[in-house]
């Protein structure tokens, strides 16, 4: 009996290691085509990193592995938590030894379609480039990527997983590609708003519909940055959150006067659960976000020309918040395929 138990435990451990512990689950690469999108997330993958199940599963395993942080206390998932839409519930993230980062960790849903630079300031050209930056960042995982590869290379089972996914031993390139592959599978497209887009007009309540009309209407012009299907226009704008002496954002990269306080326009998928908001996590609630836009930002002269006081009344503010909550995709937030 004992022998049988040990064998079962061993088998369970082995299955966990290979990332295929629950065969009842659909493959990570079984990806929906969100309404209004011309191609699946898999089709957005670069030719040298075509999306496969082995690659995505390897990436998921790495995403949840403390091995990739210097003191083996932090994972990618420490700051990108599924139940929070793969965002961080803290204003700024905590890395190894409790070090605090500078910005709020962005949500990760639907990044497959982003083409204009990732991170709040757009410093990474694509998912493959983005993937290893947090590993090396002093305030995050603080592990030289070569050291990460060395750890993976001497690990009991990673070399086999890399061989299956990329046909060779762990390497920097394979590490970045695997992590990118997993992130590419993080697709959210089953909110009530998505159902509404597909023609189910009953999917939104009356106040959510009013909020939607406001959001995509002339009075607020929210749609200028948050487009109808992707909910972002992939641009970089100063949305009025900048305060004098604060984080200059994209200007760090471009040195342009006009990029002072400009940050990436985030998509709003699951925004109800990705609080706190803005690049600095300075707004705790959706109500506070709507209030800031209603005021026209915080008043710094660098604020983009599109940000103007909206002078929303209480009902309009409530309707907008209701619409934003309709972007919640419960199935995504609880999808067991994304769990370790």
């Amino acid at each position: 009996m004992l022998k049988r138990s040990v064998a079962l435990i061993a088998a369970s451990a082995l299955l966990t290691l290979c990332g295929c512990e629950d065969s009842a689950l659909a493959p990570l690469t079984d990806l929906p085509l969100p309404s209004g999108f011309a191609e699946t997330a898999g089709q957005t993958a670069p030719p040298d990193n075509a999306l496969t199940e082995d690659r995505a599963q390897l990436g998921k395993r790495l995403f949840y592995d403390k091995l990739l942080s210097r003191d083996q206390t932090v994972t990618c998932a420490s700051c990108h938590q599924q139940e929070h839409g793969f965002a961080d519930p803290h204003p700024v993230s905590k890395g190894v030894q409790g070090r605090k980062g500078k910005r709020n960790a962005s949500q990760l849903a639907n990044l497959a379609w982003v083409r204009t630079g990732l991170f709040w300031d757009g410093r990474a050209a694509n998912l493959e480039e983005q993937a290893i930056k947090p590993i090396e960042d002093h305030n995050e995982m603080d592990l030289p990527v070569t050291e990460a590869v060395a750890r993976l290379s001497t690990h009991q089972s990673y070399p086999d997983a890399f061989a299956r996914a990329y046909g060779g031993p762990p390497s920097v390139d394979a590490l970045r590609r695997a992590l990118a592959s997993f992130v590419r599978t993080i697709v959210s497209s089953d909110s009530r708003y998505d159902h509404y887009l597909k023609g189910d007009t009953a999917a939104l309540s009356p106040n959510e519909k009013r909020g939607r009309d406001l959001f995509f209407g002339r009075k607020t012009g929210c749609f200028h940055c948050h487009s109808e299907t992707t909910l972002t226009n992939d641009g970089f704008f100063n949305n009025g959150s900048y305060v004098e002496g604060g984080d200059v954002g994209r200007q760090t990269l471009t040195a342009k006067t006009g990029d002072l306080g400009a940050f990436r326009v985030p998509n709003l998928r699951n925004i109800e659960f990705t609080a706190p908001y803005m690049h600095d996590g300075s707004l705790a609630t959706l109500e506070a976000v709507v209030e800031q836009y209603s005021r026209g930002g915080r008043g710094h002269p660098s604020t983009d020309a599109q940000i103007e006081p909206l002078k929303l009344n209480a009902e309009e503010k409530a309707d907008l918040v209701a619409f934003l909550r309709a972007l919640t995709d419960q199935a995504f937030l609880h999808d067991p395929r994304f769990r370790p």
Binding site: F216, G217, R218, D234, G258, A305
Partner: protein, 282 residues
């Protein structure tokens, strides 16, 4: 931006004439704007289009390079700091005498661009230089559409870059796109007519089509790559967007609320594109 069923959207029935962009002798259904109704994702190169042309676009303000994200000094006083200037170009034609020849936008490998559209983001210098293929010959005029053909503006298909939301030109609720988008900020200027935002699309006023522009100047297309340098005059764009226009018939299929100043500025520009000289030979 699609019309709401008025003049902009109502005149799309068109007829059948000429050949389509594929150049294979297949009759193409033409819209009222004179361009194919279909928006082909993968246009093919007409066999006759053997001549190569490179176009350099130079945005200028008061005759000086227009620098995005920086203070550009206005001759009238004050400065303009542009934060966004992007537009589509399509429908290129070369004219020589009475002959008008369609030109095909191509990438660096000579492959026709998706949908036959050049997306220009002035913040991205590489988008200011692009290539065409056209039949060899002597031409004295280049014409282009500042925006999209009706076929591409109104297609119901799901489209890919550059006809997508990441272009920042996709319009919600409707099928279409803005043709041009400008945003900027002025300081220390006394000119109250300068628009801070211009969103030009096709509303229901007037004909609703993207403006077609002719640029006069000789182009010899032969065995060598012909170079054509064009100036994009920001002054003329701002001027057109501030010109007096009867907008009483202009409407948009959007939800309640006043039509934004940026849309009105865009419609003024659309209707007056022929009265200003946005593009000229360098």
């Amino acid at each position: 931006m699609k019309g709401s069923g008025g003049g902009g959207g109502g005149a799309r029935a068109g007829g059948t004439a000429g050949t389509n962009a594929a150049g294979g002798g297949v009759p193409a259904t033409l819209g009222a704007d004179g361009f194919p109704v279909a928006c082909l994702e993968s246009p093919t190169l007409p066999a006759a289009a053997q001549g190569a042309v490179t176009i350099d676009l130079a945005p200028q303000l008061d005759g000086k390079p227009f620098v995005m994200g920086e203070e550009n000094v206005l001759s009238s006083g004050g400065t303009l700091m542009p934060t966004n200037l992007r537009f589509y170009l399509s429908g290129f034609e070369f004219k020589g005498g009475s002959k008008k020849v369609p030109a095909t936008l191509v990438d660096s490998a000579g492959k026709p661009l998706r949908y036959g559209v050049q997306f220009v983001d002035v913040s991205t210098p590489s988008s200011l230089k692009f290539a065409l293929r056209v039949a060899p010959g002597s031409y004295d005029e280049v014409s282009l559409i500042l925006g999209l053909t009706a076929g591409c503006n109104e297609t119901e298909s799901l489209l890919r870059s550059p006809l997508d939301e990441a272009s920042q030109l996709k319009w919600p609720h409707t099928l279409g796109f803005l043709f041009l988008r400008f945003e900027g900020k002025y300081s220390a200027t006394t000119d109250k007519n300068l628009p801070t935002k211009i969103h030009m699309g096709s509303g229901s006023g007037d004909d609703g089509f993207a403006p077609k522009i002719s640029v006069v100047g000789p182009v010899e297309v032969g065995s060598q790559i012909a170079q054509v340098s064009l100036v994009f005059s920001v002054n003329e764009m701002l001027k057109g967007a501030a010109m007096e226009t009867d907008l009483s018939k202009f409407s948009l299929p959007l939800s309640a609320g006043p039509i934004g100043e940026e849309i009105l500025a865009g419609e003024r520009l659309r209707q007056h594109t022929r009265d200003v000289k946005i593009f000229s030979r360098k």
